[in-house]
Symmetry: C2
Subunit: 238 residues, 2 copies
DNA sequence: GATTCAAATTGTATTAAACACAATAACAAA
DNA sequence: TTTGTTATTGTGTTTAATACAATTTGAATC
């Protein structure tokens, strides 16, 4: 009668994406483990086992704050990863046993994603964890199935942004040039856009407000800075 | 050290949607339980606890076949429901204990959805379970948080179909009139569409192939039947 | 069998958006 | 002052979306 009561553990993992003006980056934390008597270092997504009685969304928020210092980040659940094989790597098994103080069998994780301005302050170092930004197209092998989770998160970003591109402004710095914005569109959708047409289309939007400030130190005509006005944007939506 | 190892159970629930030419329906199974000495009857989504070592996708497929007889239905994971409160109703607790032969604490469920032609044969009755179609806008209170799960599934259908309307043909019968197709668009997107413009737009698609057969028994000009040609559709896509 | 009804189907015009691409402006470095 | 490079502006073409009038037709009614 215990056939189906597999000892399943549940965790959350947060894929926090940022944009540096050129490409997408993801927020990872360093991991140190021991395998075969040798210490090794690699990286993983900020994530952890959920606490008794905790809502999934709350768990994601808590874990992200604990491991990166980020607060008030809108997190969105996007996929559950539950393959029995996802915790089969001896490195991962031993690391789990060491950190959880117990034997951990199959673990299903709920993937959350968030878009943040890459300039936001994260904890460089706290409680032994260190967070850092890594370009998503230059990821080394990560712990567990975290490479796959990130790939799915980026795919979800594409899907969501194609329905509502305004969510992309969460990735842009407070002031930005139209070219930076175009770069984001191009990297997210994997296309090349005509600079002239993109410029005209964006500048006509009432919620893209021009600033007086211009680019400095570029070897060509300096671009104007703009900012995204959320209030105006919401008013244009019904 | 057992603080966070909550005894969590994991299940899958399948939201199978169909279209009867007028409105969306969902496939439910009857449930019989006992509460306060009284037998009660209500309905729930086809779903169950996952088996040891089973892939999530496999579990969803298996459960759907076992409870409804449906096979080869493309299931898509769409959301995890894990509120600690979702299994707090005494009816649900007692029903779980009776069917699972054990005490069941918190249960997190992974929601799957599928689109099927409503004419497909389902098991009217087997292993004590009976499946039936119920309009999504006329649902009674269901077991657990299944009303909420269905609402999320319909929302997801909207989202996905707005990106790729071709998925809607999975809901249409093999032969259909343009008006039936328009009804589906209208109910899914919650809008009213101009019959003339919709007609022209659809008929010009190479993958909407006209049949010789026409509607019968209607008190007005009989509409032509069409069918969706998947091959042609795939060729028009890169 | 002629007439009527309601929806299917066809026609036509307007409007808005997407797209291609040439031309001009402006900043920093040489 | 000239050059290189990107920002910004201009213009025309193409395509898609939308509105709405007009015509066709199967079945029911008179």
């Amino acid at each position: 009668m215990e056939t189906e009561s597999a000892k399943i553990h549940l965790s959350v993992d947060c894929t926090v994406l940022g944009f540096d003006g050129e490409r997408l980056e993801v927020l990872l934390i360093r991991r140190t483990g021991v395998e075969g008597g040798e210490e090794f270092h690699d990286m993983k997504l900020p994530g952890s086992v959920i606490v008794d009685g905790e809502e999934l969304d709350d768990a994601a928020r808590r874990v992200l704050t604990e491991l990166t210092g980020l607060k008030n980040v809108p997190l969105t659940q996007f996929h559950a990863f539950g393959s029995p094989d996802r915790t089969k790597d001896p490195r991962d098994i031993h690391w789990l046993e060491a950190t959880q103080q117990m034997h951990v069998g199959r673990t299903v994780t709920i993937g959350y994603m968030a878009l943040v301005k890459i300039g936001r302050s994260i904890m460089g170092d706290m409680e032994g964890t260190e967070a850092l930004w890594v370009p998503v197209d230059k990821l080394p092998p990560l712990a567990f199935d975290h490479n796959q989770i990130i790939a799915e998160a980026v795919k979800m970003l594409r899907t969501l942004a194609s329905m509502d591109p305004s969510m992309l402004y969460a990735l842009m710095p407070r002031k930005f040039t139209v070219t930076q914005l175009r770069n984001l569109y191009e990297v997210v959708f994997g296309v090349r856009l005509d600079p002239a047409n993109f410029y005209k289309k964006m500048v006509q939007m009432p919620y893209i407000v021009p600033l007086e400030e211009r680019e400095k130190g570029v070897a060509h005509r300096a671009a104007r800075y703009y900012r995204f006005d959320k209030n105006t944007y919401n008013k244009t939506r019904i």
